[in-house]
């Protein structure tokens, strides 16, 4: 059984990269706006549904669908931020959490109204819909693509944040909003932009997940708690943290399943508790964040 760990590891990375795409947007929004967006999982779910609808329509192309999903969900995010979340920035975090939780209910039900409650399935795009042999085991090429996509997203984000002007604005505003405003940043537009960006990423995350599982109205709820665990472990507001955290959780679930029943549910929470006790800012978070 020498090949076993390789399969487990790749599985773990595959699980992790799917989580990462959700966690990235969540972390971005929290890091900059200070809002923990409960509805992030619901946005991810909408991305998955939109992808399926576009692929099943005349367009038929998965990549186009993924882009449209990102854009569509981004627009939903803008509507949420401009219409509602903006009004409560000054209020305490509890209110923000409840507001986004209310959105979970609303978006879930609207999704059910539009798409119904049956399961939808989607095949991976033809170019990636085959298997490769790794360490003696079959592995779906599309999954490898998702792992790569996660890494690329991570790199792209790092680059934008560290090396571009917009990135520096984002970083500045997240560490000191008032100062940033005094220096001329249109903070409110920045916030909307960041929220939209986070939503776009969630939508794309959903799009990329659609070929891997049945898409049902419960998909959003499944993913949001895992995303919370990931961002807390990684460090709220840190993207490197979200990446490492997602991979860690994926690996824990992958290996844990082999030994303990229910591990995939239980172990991530244990991990979160341990991190919160010993390093509450997360593995990569900054102290006092």
């Amino acid at each position: 059984m020498v090949e076993l760990p390789v399969v487990e590891i790749l599985t773990g990375l595959s699980l992790g990269s799917r989580l990462f795409l959700v966690a990235l947007g969540l972390s971005l929004i929290f890091g900059v706006l200070g809002v923990l967006n409960f509805a992030h999982g619901a946005l991810y779910m909408v991305g998955a549904y939109v992808t399926i609808s576009v692929v099943q329509s005349v367009v038929g192309n998965f990549w186009v669908a993924a882009v449209l999903a990102g854009v569509g969900v981004g627009l939903v995010g803008v509507a949420m931020e401009v219409g509602f979340i903006r009004r409560i920035y000054e209020r305490d975090q509890l209110d923000q959490l409840i507001l986004t939780f209310a959105f979970v209910l609303i978006i879930s039900d609207l999704t059910r109204i539009v798409w119904g409650s049956q399961s939808y399935t989607l095949d991976p795009p033809a170019s990636l819909n085959n298997t490769v042999q790794i360490a003696g085991a079959s592995f779906l090429t599309y999954r490898l693509f998702v792992i790569v996509a996660g890494i690329v997203a991570m790199a792209a984000f790092w680059y934008v944040l560290q090396r571009t002007f917009v990135g520096s604005l984002i970083r500045a505003t997240s560490s000191d909003r008032q100062m940033s405003q005094l220096l001329g940043t249109n903070v409110s537009r920045l916030y909307t932009g960041v929220f939209a960006l986070g939503s776009v990423i969630a939508g794309i995350g959903g799009a990329l997940a659609a070929p891997l599982q049945a898409v049902t109205p419960g998909v959003g709820d499944q993913v949001i708690i895992s995303a919370f665990v990931v961002v807390v472990i990684g460090g709220l507001g840190s993207f490197t943290g979200a990446f490492i955290g997602a991979m860690a959780i994926g690996l824990i679930q992958s290996f844990g399943t082999m030994w303990v029943r229910g591990a995939d549910l239980f172990l991530p929470f244990v991990a979160m508790i341990i991190v919160l006790i010993f390093r509450p800012e997360g593995l990569f978070g900054e102290e006092g964040q």
């Binding site: 487990e8 939808y120 999954r143 109205p217 499944q222 082999m258 029943r261």
Partner: protein, 416 residues
């Protein structure tokens, strides 16, 4: 009162007759609790289609003893026993419904059952499969009482079919992958109990059993675990969206290279077949609580035809059939009893026989469970239908006595 017409009358025979003349008064109301939200809400929606069809047919045909079927009040169990119990109480005490019907989740059914005894109202379970609620007696596994009935195949009957199907194969080492709750674990227990009692000499690979969380989005880790053990056969109780996800993901691993036989206990359910479409893997064993193409009887053919007319492109699921048949069972019982009074209806239901679309059934007077065969077959493509079909398909008789005998040493009730 509507004029009796030829509209959509399904050829149901059985004990007809209106003893005692017209009923006590106005329309008959039903309370119905189903999964109407969340990821399994397709079951509740499907059941509603069955109820609506039955209600229209019955009302067009003169109603029940001259009384119309009035409201069917639908409530969402939200997969929570607590919520369902509250709704049950509300429906009986506040809304004053005549009779209750429904329930998808076994866990919910286990908790609603004792409440029906408190409320003293009959409940016809149409989906929830735990054998415990049609098992009267003492102990944790006897949660039935005189008020609770079930018109659909239960887990024990279905798993008997699974064991008989396994017997046809050459697989001798078995393991399971199922959702991480009672339904998943009990499927495995019943499979072991039957195959042991049938002396099939199987090896049960306990270390390889995999129980992913209900609604998990990724089964790869669990699939790895099973592949690692290299069993001949795998019994799976995964259902709905979970089964779809599993099949899609398993296809792209070595699962089907390593495992010779896969038995999907509820694999031929339409809520799996329809989304899978032509992607459904063929040559796998699948069971279901109702197969829309079996039996080839007037009752079933007419039902299927009418259902497809009303719901184009949507072959009837077992949820729809069981809901439909449930109302008809009540109709027959009420007409036989001459009233909707609980004790009278219960007496009439016990031993009642009917030709339903799912087949000729009889409500066992001791357990209140419908005696039905288990339907198992191999998945195959069809040119005629948009979904995969079962070909060949077998109706495996599951007599109450046989099941009870086989399970007698195991501690698991047959619930029939």
């Amino acid at each position: 009162m509507k004029a009796a017409g030829a509209s959509g009358v399904v050829g149901l025979t059985g004990l007809a007759g209106c003893i005692g003349g017209g009923g006590g008064g106005g329309p008959i109301t039903f309370g119905s609790i189903h999964l109407l939200s969340g990821f399994a809400s397709v079951y509740g929606e499907s059941a509603k289609l069955g109820y609506q069809m039955a209600k229209e047919e019955i009302n067009d045909d003169g109603g029940i003893d001259g009384r119309e079927i009035g409201d069917i009040i639908y409530r969402d169990s939200e997969a929570s026993p607590d919520t369902a119990v509250q709704h049950a109480r509300n429906l009986v005490e506040s809304e004053g419904v005549d009779l209750m019907i429904g329930l998808d989740s076994s866990g919910v059914a286990l908790q609603v059952s004792p409440i029906m005894e408190q409320l003293q109202k009959p409940f016809m379970i149409t989906h929830a499969a735990t054998p415990f609620v049609t098992n009267m007696g003492d102990g944790d596994r006897a949660k039935g009482n005189k008020y609770v009935f079930r018109d659909g195949v239960n887990l024990a009957q279905n798993l008997y079919g699974a064991a008989k199907t396994a017997q046809k194969t050459n697989a001798t080492s078995w393991t399971t992958i199922g959702p991480n709750y009672a339904f998943g674990t009990q499927t495995w227990e019943y499979f072991k109990a039957y195959t042991q009692a049938m002396d099939l000499g199987y090896e049960y690979m306990e270390n390889a059993t995999a129980y992913p969380s209900l609604g998990a989005s990724d089964y790869t880790a669990h699939i790895n675990k099973v592949i690692d053990a290299e069993p001949d056969g795998v019994v799976t109780s995964l259902w709905g969206g979970d089964l779809i996800t599993f099949l899609k993901q398993a296809k792209n691993t070595d699962f089907f290279n390593v495992v010779d036989e896969l038995l999907m206990t509820v694999g031929a359910a339409t809520d799996v077949l329809r989304p899978m479409g032509a992607d459904m893997p063929t040559n796998l064993w699948a069971g279901t609580r109702y197969w829309f193409l079996s039996p080839d009887s007037d009752a079933n053919n007419t039902f299927r035809k009418n259902f497809l007319e009303a719901n184009p492109g949507r072959p009837p699921s077992y949820n729809a059939q069981n809901a439909y048949t449930g109302l008809y069972l009540y109709k027959q019982a009420i007409e036989s009893a001459g009233s909707t009074e609980p004790d009278a209806v219960i007496d009439a239901l016990e031993g009642l026989e009917m030709s339903a679309p799912v087949g000729d059934l009889r409500i066992n007077p001791d357990s209140h469970q419908a005696e039905l065969p288990a339907v198992w077959g191999k998945t195959a493509h069809s040119d005629e239908w948009d979904v995969a079909v079962l070909d060949p398909v077998e109706r495996i008789p599951a007599p109450a006595g046989t099941l009870r005998d086989l399970l007698s040493g195991s501690g698991w009730p047959a619930g029939v």
